[in-house]
């Protein structure tokens, strides 16, 4: 059952081939059997899942519900889930039972999905390898000595191992697309403001965006349909119509103008990954698409700019964790300052502390203009690069990540080398644009992601362009061994 698309699972549920309870048990058994070796889940909500599945079965029996009714999915543990521990991968929230649901969780529940559990992630979504989680590293199902990417590495690994039918993720600098690439699945980061951030624990508020991680663009379209749309509880949510994402999946790509940015094929790109991506682009020209060289001249500034903007916003957002209202509190504080300082010192891991301190520094008196304001100006230049490119082309294509999955521990001691693994994904967040990663030909048995970047609110086209590739290729159907 776990090899079926959501549409086929939904058809099976509706025709009575299997019930949602049976489907849910199937995934729960897979989690019990396979996740010890992967560590992709922090919390498995077996009881709630079976209860939700029973409710779904009643709806289905009455001929009600939609395409997602009874489909078992997993949520990244950054989304607040009422009554269920929401840890954000941190000791700080190890015992945090959320008093409310995130909008994404509420909407998917409203669409009838079954929640299997909460997936592992880099602590507070800060990392590109899933090694910063308080709950231990996640292993890449394709090779357990390698990282799954991050920060949505648990969702990516769970999806790659087919421990769920789909999963949610969040992307601040590549955290959906990079793990999707490294684990061989499909992941889309929508336009900033497309999906509500309410109840999604904030890291960098001007960059964070939620999106689905799935086996295919077709499945991702169904998930995004349920997740997207205006939410008055998120002050940056966009009042934009949500199109029918499934309705345009089969549109022809004849005459599609694809921009190829030379900066994304630079010396830092692994040769095998380059060949795989070029081969994927050839599939598009065979379908009638046209290639245009475009330039994104400020690409080289994106990582630097990000490591000012994101830590600045993180230091501000994470100031709420004070040991007073919720979350971890240190033992026997001698005074209020000691309570704050030790609760935060003991509750946060090393990477989170590094970013809080960098953020506090770039926002501090005397440095604000040189760092934060400067970065915001560069952000403008980065986003203008894209604007100019999209005057010429419909989508931009390149690699999602410069290499395939790297070895556990390879970059964890060197924060800067870790940061550079997001070199091709960060600029999209800086500009607020949507991007998708889909599997193309593997290199030495490890998945490679093709990244497709679209114009604002053009998710429907990204899904269409991705789906057409998946009609011509089978890379997205390949599964790791033991799965």
């Amino acid at each position: 059952m776990h090899n079926k698309s959501i549409i086929r699972l939904s058809a099976g549920l509706r025709s009575g081939d299997f019930s949602s309870v049976e489907l849910t048990r199937h995934y729960l058994q897979r989690i019990h059997r396979l996740d010890k070796g992967l560590n992709s889940f922090i919390t498995v909500t077996e009881e709630q899942a079976l209860a939700q599945a029973q409710t779904a079965d009643k709806l289905l029996a009455a001929g009600e519900g939609g395409v997602l009714t009874g489909i078992p999915i997993a949520h990244k543990d950054i989304f607040c889930t009422q009554g269920v521990r929401t840890s954000c991968g941190s000791r700080m929230l190890d015992d945090f039972i959320s008093p409310y649901d995130a909008t994404v969780v509420e909407r998917l529940a409203g669409a009838g999905v079954v929640m299997l559990g909460k997936t592992n992630m880099d602590e507070f979504a800060m990392g590109s390898s899933n090694e910063t989680s308080y709950y231990g590293a996640v292993k890449n199902p394709w090779n357990r000595l390698k990282v799954p990417g991050g920060s949505s590495g648990g969702s990516a690994a769970a999806m790659a191992a087919r421990l769920c039918a789909a999963a949610t993720g969040t992307d601040t600098g590549g955290s959906i697309r990079q793990p999707a690439a490294l684990c061989g699945i499909t992941g889309i980061k929508p336009t900033y403001g497309r999906v509500s951030r309410y109840g999604m624990i904030a890291f960098a508020s001007s960059l964070d965006q939620a999106g689905p991680m799935a086996a295919s663009a077709e499945d991702a379209a169904l998930m995004l349909q349920a997740m997207a749309g205006f939410d008055q509880r998120d002050s940056t949510s966009m009042q934009q119509q949500v199109p029918d994402y499934s309705g345009t999946l089969n549109d022809s790509l004849q005459g599609l103008k694809i921009g190829i940015p030379k900066e994304y094929f630079d010396a830092g790109l692994d040769t095998g990954v380059r060949q795989s991506v070029e081969q994927a682009i050839k599939v598009y020209t065979d379908m009638g698409a046209e290639l245009r060289e475009v330039t994104l001249p400020n690409t080289g500034l994106a990582v630097a700019t990000y490591y000012v903007v994101a830590p600045a916003e993180c230091s501000s957002n994470l100031s709420r964790f004070d040991g007073v209202r919720f979350g971890y509190r240190c033992k026997d504080p001698v005074d209020l300052e000691d309570l704050y300082k030790r609760s935060r010192a003991e509750g946060f891991g090393d990477e989170v502390k590094r970013r809080i301190l960098i953020g506090a520094y770039v926002l501090s008196a005397g440095y604000y203009d040189a760092y934060y304001l400067k970065a915001q100006k560069l952000r403008h230049l980065i986003s203008q690069d894209f604007k100019q490119a999209f005057d010429e082309v419909d989508v931009i294509m390149g690699p999602t990540s410069p290499t395939t999955a790297f070895a556990m521990g390879e970059k964890s001691e060197d924060p800067v080398s870790m940061y550079l693994s997001d070199v091709y994904t960060i600029a999209t967040n800086m500009a607020g644009l949507p991007g998708i990663s889909i599997p193309c030909a593997p290199v030495d048995g490890m998945p490679v992601g093709l990244q497709i970047i679209g114009n604002y609110f053009d998710e429907a086209r990204l899904l269409n362009v991705a789906h057409q590739f998946q009609q011509q290729t089978q890379w997205h159907q390949q599964l790791p061994e033991e799965v």
Partner: protein, 95 residues
């Protein structure tokens, strides 16, 4: 650009994070390397470029100034480390 350890200790104090001497040494090295990475920003002339705070240059919308939230104090205080009589408890601030 590099930090010295006393600067890192000052920032950690501002951010209310306790750090040991050992951690301060590591952080001094790590943060200096991050600032080296960031230094590439200085190579670009940004005079005349407007700062971009929102990816779509939008201002935040406003809503009518009416009560939209109900009182959920008890529910929210259930997850607090220490409360009493509807108040959050912290170590004594005023002697």
């Amino acid at each position: 650009m590099s930090f010295d350890q006393s600067e890192v200790e000052k920032i950690a104090h501002l951010a209310r994070v306790a750090i040991s001497n050992d951690e301060a040494q590591h952080l001094t090295a790590d943060l200096s390397r991050i600032l080296d990475l960031v230094a590439v920003m200085d190579e670009v002339d940004t005079s005349g470029v407007a700062a971009m705070a929102h990816p779509l240059h939008m201002t935040q919308r406003l809503r009518a100034d009416v009560v939209s939230e109900t009182d959920q104090r008890e529910r929210y205080q259930q997850i607090a480390p220490a409360t009493e009589d509807g108040l959050y408890l912290v170590p004594r601030v005023i002697e």
